[in-house]
């Protein structure tokens, strides 16, 4: 077995462990056989079993979905815009989705389904706004792509400000979104996951299908084209899939920041830059990070439960600084890759 297959097996084993801990942490050991039986027949006969099936399990699924999609999107965005700081959170995707969703609900009274569509439109709008601002700033003269990240930060601030203004203007309904808007993995959002999971699944399928041509694009557009890749087509499809997938995750549980930024940097040293191996690994590690962050959010301050988005933002903020130092500020820092 080669080294990369072994790494993939190892992280799958880690996912299994984190998954079990996430589901069963805090229950009495004596209850475990009953809880497992309840999971198998999918029916609750006690309070603990109800907690497991209707609180823990939904959280688990949402954490896996949000973490996995954000990480895969982050890897693809970092590859395509050739920037180690690219991610759904730093390119305006998450804040765009959040703004459009809140606006559709508060201004137009949209149903949950329509809110989801608004989030997808917002994700695209956020990404395109970041690109447009970067172009105005003259991205062509900036080989390291820092202006794109600054534009993303600018767009995110603007959109987040507008979202907050909308929430403040509607005291009657703001409670409904106040927690969601900071990224909240909560069992009540399982209905939204049931509504939108297929968008993420479709995005991931497209990204996995394009893993090889996307890796070739990493070698440069001309090199990729000379080996047979239709670069504009693959880039557009992949960016569309990454952005819409992230939008669907925001529609489910709000913007869970920084997973998409951090996970590719964890994955690369073990799985390399070939997306054929690195993309499945990103999905799995993203799910692990999502579950772990949610576990911290749920258990670290017991009996209080904090928003998972706050935990990922805290960890992600620190990692963001480390990456900036490593890629941009250290002497002889490397080209973005």
């Amino acid at each position: 077995m080669d080294r990369r297959s072994l790494h993939l097996l190892l992280i799958l084993a880690m996912l299994a462990i984190v998954l079990v801990v996430h589901l069963f942490f805090g229950f009495h050991a004596a209850d475990l056989p009953n809880l497992i039986a309840a999971l198998q027949r999918f029916e609750a006969q006690s309070y603990e079993e109800a907690v497991l099936l209707f609180q823990r399990l939904p959280r688990t699924l949402i954490a896996i979905y949000a973490g996995g999609i954000a990480a895969a999107s982050g890897f693809v965005l970092q590859s395509l815009v050739r920037n180690p700081l690219a991610s759904p959170a730093t390119l305006g995707v998450n804040s765009g989705a959040a703004l459009f969703l809140v606006a559709s609900a508060l201004l137009f009274g949209a149903s949950a389904e329509l809110q989801g569509i608004a989030a997808l439109a917002g994700a695209l709008a956020g990404f395109l706004s970041s690109l447009a601002v970067a172009r105005l700033a003259g991205r062509r003269n900036d080989p390291r792509g820092l202006s794109l990240i600054l534009s993303g930060a600018l767009v995110s601030m603007l959109f987040t400000g507008m979202t907050n203004a909308l929430l403040l203007s509607d005291p009657a309904r703001r409670a409904e979104f106040l927690s969601w808007v900071t990224g909240n993995i909560n069992h009540v959002y399982i209905d939204r996951l049931a509504m939108f999971w297929w968008i993420g699944a479709l995005s991931v399928a497209i990204l996995l299908l394009f893993a090889r041509p996307l890796t070739l694009i990493l070698l440069g557009a001309d090199k990729a084209a000379s080996t047979g890749v239709n670069v504009p087509l693959v880039s557009r499809f992949a960016i569309g899939a990454a952005v819409l997938g992230s939008g669907s995750a925001v529609a489910v549980c709000g913007p869970i920041g920084f997973v998409g930024l951090v996970v590719p940097h964890i994955v690369r040293p073990f799985m390399g830059n070939n997306l054929v191996h690195a993309l499945p690994a990103s999905l799995i590690v993203g799910a692990i990070v999502g579950l772990a962050a949610d576990l911290i959010a749920r258990e670290a301050f017991y009996p209080y439960v904090v928003n998972t988005g706050l935990v990922t933002d805290l960890i992600g903020g620190i990692v963001f600084i480390v990456i900036v130092k490593r890629f941009y500020l250290s002497p002889g820092s490397r080209e973005a890759s």
């Binding site: 090889r212 070698l219 440069g220 084209a225 000379s226 047979g228």
Partner: protein, 261 residues
Amino acid sequence: MLETRHVSAAYGPLNVLSDVSVRFSKGRLTAIVGPNGCGKSSLLKAIMGFLPISAGDILLEGVPLHGISRKALARRIAYLPQDCFCPDYMTLGELIELAGYSRYSLTGGPSAQDRDLFKQVLETVGLSDRAGFPVNKLSGGQRQRAWIAMVLAQDTDVILMDEPVNHLDMKYQFAVLELVRELIETHGKTVIAVLHDLNLTTAFADEVVLMQSGRCITAGPVADTVTSDNIEQVFGLRTQIFPRDGRLVCFPERIGHASVA
């Protein structure tokens, strides 16, 4: 084999190719030579379809390349850009496997036949023991051979190389061009390479295309094209050219600078 007929192309208002008509012979190394900015790289880019042509035709075995799909072109012509970029952590084996992309289905990967080819390719370039090695950790000469291996793994008859020996020291320049000769002589490839050094050109190329200001000044066998008059016309530099050990040596005359003591 490969032929350009009255090809013109421009980057915006700047004409980079004007009425270029060249026939590249099969199974030969043709060097494209000329001063900086004369359109050498642009000619390769026009053949690859990266630079849209405004007039003329490019034909491969009599068939126009215009409108051919990227995948179909990738099965006929491989291209080595001037500056190759490899992301960190990517191994030589992965790089070579990617080269066969045009032969894979959307969900499939390399066949057993492809894997045999990849093995042979690594042997040809002398890097059989480096397949699991990250490309960016190879030495300069090995790295250039890695990129040539990728081009070979594409398994095409025609290979275009844009300054393949740039950034290499003299020893590696010779090693890489000797490898290119081997591709031609034992693997029957047709290679078209942009070269800067006239002495490397006369030592390794079969034919030469001399370019200046986007035009083809002359093209043909080395002995007919690399002449004092042609070189002076193209480079504006008086050059003595004399035979030595069966090949031509180019010796530019001094242009008024201090001589070596």
